[in-house]
Amino acid sequence: MEIGPILRAMLRNKLGVGLLVVEIAFAVAVVVICLGIVAKNRASMSIPTGLDERNILTIQIQSHGAAFDEASYMRQVIDRDLDTIRAQPGVLDASVMSPWPLQGGGSSTQMKPTGQPDSALVRCPVYRADTHFLATFGLELVEGRAFADSDIPLLPDPADDAPPAPDNVIVTKALADALYPDGALGKQLTGPGGGDTGDTIVGIVRYMYTPYDNGASGMEYRILFYPRKPGSPANLGYMVRAEPGAIDALFTGLEERLEALNRERVVKTVSLMEIKQRGLFLNLIVVRILSTIIGLLLFVTAIGMFGMTSFAVAKRTRQIGVRRALGARKFDIARLFLVENGLIAGAGTLLGLTLAITLNLLILSKSDAVPRVSAGPVLFALALIAVVVFLSTLVPALRAARVPPATASRAA
């Protein structure tokens, strides 16, 4: 290899080489950082939810009649709806609940072991659901029991999030461990400022995940369920779990059945997968935008590399002829340009990585909005850059290899 003379010759052209090194460094830094964020978002998009989400559809109902304003009437409507839904062929189970899981947000609260100071508070998403929700979601109970009819207050409370009487609640194992690492079943939890009374944990669910504020508060696995049959004229929500393969037939069938029950309502069915897509919308947008930026940047880098190398080949045509006359094979000529750009890319990559890591640490010291630079994205970025540099150099390098040796003897 002729790295010595190549390096010495390149150092004679510090500006041109320097610009290319900086271009590569910039590309590497941006690609590494963006790839890290893309990887993080992709990872959170593929976290299992614990729900049988492919077989679940949601039903949203808006009611118009004056009678719906009355809680007892509402309660009757809900019970009749659910009976109707469960009686449909292809339906495994159905549950009334609020808000939707997986929609990316919802409602959250803070809870602490009863009797502890507020410093023990843990943030968690809250759902209100009936006795069927475990079976409807396909969630697995590891300890305790499901909600019984007796757990559900007779009438929905107007201020649902602050129940006056203590409830029996179900929590995920993650929330249980956060509150009571030594076993949570039968223990009590209380909201901020609460006194010595609290809600009792009667069931613990093995696992559930719901995307929430992009994971910023770390509560996406710590989920709390209150026993309720929530519903208002403006908004009533059911979840329906279908037998495998039966979901497609249920969409219109259920809408028609429920509208037939009461004409003063608008019924809308949406699959839980679609709700989940909405929940992951931000992640998806981030992935799409950053992937586009990465693609564009690599394209620009390739164009730059291709242009500079083509220019160098054109400028050094005579020298290429001379090298051929002195015994260089075509391969030696192509290698000359590949090694040159390889060295430039190597230097640029080192600089770019340093830049990316420094920047990353700087940002991390102020916030945790970006993921720490990790080996996976870095290696992927390096592979991308290597491929881009190689391909964009190869074309002009092969053109250089085809310069005829007789070029050496042409009049200057």
Partner: protein, 231 residues
Amino acid sequence: MLRMQGVSKIYRTKFVETHALEQFSIHAHKGEFIALMGPSGSGKSTFLNVAGLLDEFESGSYWLDGVDVASLGDGQRSRIRNHKIGFIFQSYNLIPELDVFDNIDVPLRYRGLAGPRRKELIEKALTTVGLSGRMQHYPAQLSGGQQQRVAIARALAGGPPLLLADEPTGNLDTEMAEQIMELLAAINADGTTIVMVTHDLDLARRAHRIVHIRDGRSVDEAALAAVARNV
């Protein structure tokens, strides 16, 4: 050393065919110093290109150091250029971004020689051309005569049996040209075969033999004299 028999070379462009060499024959013996003379456009450079395996030819035969080179592939031709031929060009053709040392190093690296051996050869070649002190200079920092001497050092460093020179003194003043000629004579005296193109008769006379070329054909001196008498 170098034997061409009836070699023809045609340059084809869209509209014209130029018969740059036509039935050209020449035989340079080992150790000979031949001057090739001819008017501009007579095919001198074309001959050097073909002789130096820089270009292919249409017909005829060419043996170089006992090898029939007509059928060789690009890789083998590169190898022969590297091992057996030293080139000296009118415009020196040093690589501007390499210093004197690295310029002379170029063919030696393509030969795959180890570092210490290359250094030894480069130093020896530079001593021969009298430029030992200029190793770290870049071509732009040298005079024309010095650049040509570096080019000669590069051509002879690997000890090729054949030197091909295309008007090596064409860009130099008489005094510099004289130095170069003395250098070439000395290199030839050490056993290197030299074919030098020139149109300076004074310089050509320093060779063992002059071969004339006209319209791509070789003309021996007797025939030339006969032509001259008939005019």
